[in-house]
Homo-oligomer: 204 residues x 2
Amino acid sequence: MAHILPSALESAIEELGRLPGVGIRTAERYAYFLLRTEKRTSDKLANVISELHDKVKNCPITFALIDSDQDVSPLYTDPDRDKKLVAVVEEPLDIVALERTGQFKGTYHVLGGAISPIDGVGPDQLHIPELIKRLTEDKVSELIIATNASVEGESTALFLQRLVNDSGIKVKMTRLARGLPAGVDLEYADQITLTHALAGRRLI
Amino acid sequence: MAHILPSALESAIEELGRLPGVGIRTAERYAYFLLRTEKRTSDKLANVISELHDKVKNCPITFALIDSDQDVSPLYTDPDRDKKLVAVVEEPLDIVALERTGQFKGTYHVLGGAISPIDGVGPDQLHIPELIKRLTEDKVSELIIATNASVEGESTALFLQRLVNDSGIKVKMTRLARGLPAGVDLEYADQITLTHALAGRRLI
């Protein structure tokens, strides 16, 4: 297959193919689009990608992603947000998902993943000591464990629950509700989801 | 939604969202991947994208994509390939698809699109005069019209057929076979595909 495409295009296809979930056909489509589009557009993309690492860092308190020239996440320093209410999430983008609801006015704590022995991720690799520190420093009254509804997310929630209980710190701990997602027919819901929906049923 | 993500990450999401078929969630995933991956990997991607326009050009004879420092497509100059047999395709990546079959040993001619009045693409925007020129210069004996099996591809094939006939140039013109794609059950084949498969049935 050598020499069918110019080497610069082959390189672009190869590098674009490293993006998550991108196979060769999609990478070809992206590369060809970038070649056909105005040079200004492809230069802009090249530019923002090359700046990404230098212009983004982690907040030292919440571990959310922040601008390099910021000290602390604005979602933490915002006086309108309740520091006593902390949502614990696995990854920085989980904050975006929760913010989209417009329903949460507390602060966040990013663990940086979930406990997963199979991937070699133990509690030591997560920002758990910093979370425990915040519990007393910010006099946290409620900790919402908003980890994923996966095995790893559940294990992490359980671990945090035990750790906080053992520490003797008094704090209400909650977990996001499990149940039917919006717009889903009962007959298509899986067994585990239905089990959770039944167990968590509410008075109307 | 301001200030949830660092501005450099927002910019990366915005620019990645310009790629074809990429929505906001996918763009977020790509941007976050690029942030989490080694700087070397994201720099390499930024680099190949920024070089794309300068290092790739069109072959002046076949309009295939070639390296900027090449004069003519190696698929044209290759002495093992038959210049008298020309496959006419819409886009440069169609060449990759045909080369993957390993069955074609002729040369290519890229039209640069298909006739589409709705998109304002007429015959004048396509590399048709250059194709007519090749017919006599290369003494082409067979022209395989390998345009897409779409309305635009069919219109373009019909246009080329009439144009070549009217020009008085003697050349055999063929079209890629239409019929059942590999691995498809008859009951799932659409009506048009089945109609073509019936009309093009072959003696066994």
